[in-house]
Amino acid sequence: MITASDVTKRYPEGREALRHVSFEITAGEMVFLTGHSGAGKSTLFKLLAAIERPTSGSIVISGQNLAALSRSAVPYLRRKLGLLFQDRKLLFDRTVLDNVLLPLAIVGHPPRDALRRAQAALAKVGLPNRERTLPIALSGGEQQRLAIARAVVNRPAIILADEPTANLDAASAREILEIFHAFQQVGVTVLIATHDPASLPAQRPRVLRLDHGEMTELPPTSDAAVAGVLA
């Protein structure tokens, strides 16, 4: 589903954010990408979302090589991805419902069908009665749920989440991870970038670790051991 081969990303000023990164994520997997701030998680996230291009190496998502992707094809790739951004990127002058309707409008869903799907997405993330609310009136956890609803409303096969539990209390973070887990259960591939080892779930997750742009994969083990390695 996602294959990165020998990916290097060097910025014009010479800083290497990623060095020879390779990994493979199969369909339906839930993978955590960890590492300290500045380790290269957000850079990898941007490469996977085709916001930036690798300096060398290749990334293939659902059979599409991102290096060969034309500029006009990028939006169509992004429609297949459920993207969650670190700063959530909600539209604060639009209602909760309008935020979720946006991806459907972009794809060109008929209004009635779009409304039904948006309401279903909001119900799935536990925001069924907040349709007319402005995002500013939501708590941090609710805003993250709204961001998830917007990311999944087009039923993507892959969810890429950059620090989805950042700035959330432990209970809210757990609830958010449970939502991701529910999506994984129905076959959605989920990649979650996090700098916080404490946010990893209790069950033994697959963890990819980035450190100064280099990737290592941690062996499957208990979350306590993972937390120990990451600490």
Binding site: I51, S72, P75, R78, L83, K89, L90, I106, P110
Partner: protein, 299 residues
């Protein structure tokens, strides 16, 4: 309904929403565009009316054919036949008796005419050519002077040329004004769209990140430019209409004082539609350029 049509309708709704979101700003923009389009439109309409006036006024762009005093009915009939065959335009025969009567009727001329031993005036034809271009008038005058029993052909070609040159100058000035104000309209729309993009930066950024194509993002802005331009064009039509409504009775009164029956011709429905279409096209152009330049940073 197809996705394509639905997205275009949504973009039009979005453009209307943006226009209505800041009514005072929108109104001011429309007024500025309206005034920019009013000047060349009014100028063009004035030139058009002057052209019509020159065509309608007596003595203007007419050729007088004076026959020799010895010309008889047969020669008059022959010239009539030639004029008819040549399809040169409208013409009227003025017998020498009628010409004398007119001269007598002129102030201070009655005694002079009465003292004449005989009628010195010739029979004449007054021709109003269908084609009033100076070159054509001169060609006709030259041709008429070669006809039998024609003693003199009179065409005030210098006046015609002067008037035509003035009209052409006026036309050129209106064209230049049009180009200048078209540039102003494009610039106004360019700036309005720039402000729209700045105001909608967050939405555009998010839309790009979640799969919006260039067309999806640009479409409402293009429609906004078109809508603003079209409404500005209608605003200009309204301003020109008001101006001509105020001028029409005054011009008619002035024309009557000069013995002419002339009324200003204002904008027709077709002109109003053309003005809206021109405004929409220029608005679209301004929006297109602005979008190309200012959306780059969201790439």
């Amino acid at each position: 309904m197809s996705v394509w049509l639905a997205q275009h309708l949504a973009a039009i709704r979005d453009a209307c929403r943006r226009l209505a979101a800041a009514p005072l700003n929108s109104l001011l923009s429309l007024l500025v565009i309206g005034i920019a389009l009013t000047l060349p439109t009014a100028g063009w309409l004035m030139i058009d009316n002057l052209r019509a006036l020159s065509g309608d006024s007596p003595g203007v762009q007419q050729i007088s054919i004076f026959l020799g005093l010895e010309a008889g009915k047969r020669e008059i009939a022959e010239i009539e036949a030639r004029l008819q065959a040549g399809k040169v335009g409208k013409w009227r025969f003025v017998p020498r008796e009628e010409a004398l009567k007119r001269l007598q009727a002129a102030e201070g001329m009655a005694d002079i005419v009465a003292s004449l031993p005989r009628n010195p005036l010739p029979d004449a034809f007054v021709v109003t050519p269908a084609d009033s271009q100076p070159a054509e008038l001169e060609r006709l005058a030259k041709s008429f002077s070669g006809w039998p029993k024609v003693a003199h052909v009179q065409l005030d070609s210098a006046w015609v040329k002067r008037f035509d040159a003035l009209l052409r100058l006026g036309h050129l000035i209106v064209m230049l004004l049009g180009v200048l104000f078209a540039g102003a309209l494009v610039t106004i729309t360019f700036n309005t769209i720039r402000l729209q993009i700045l105001a909608q930066a967050a939405e555009i950024e998010v839309a790009r990140l979640i799969g919006a194509t260039d067309s999806y993002i640009q479409r409402p802005l293009h429609y906004f430019g078109m809508l603003q331009g079209a409404l500005g064009g209608l605003c200009a039509a309204l301003l020109v209409g008001i101006g001509f409504h105020l001028l029409t009775p005054l011009v008619a009164e002035l024309a009557q004082l000069y013995g002419a029956n002339f009324a200003l011709q204002g904008l027709l429905a077709l002109h109003v539609a053309a003005l809206a279409a021109i405004g929409a096209t220029l608005g679209w152009l301004g929006a297109k350029i602005s979008v190309l330049i200012h959306l780059r940073r969201f790439a």
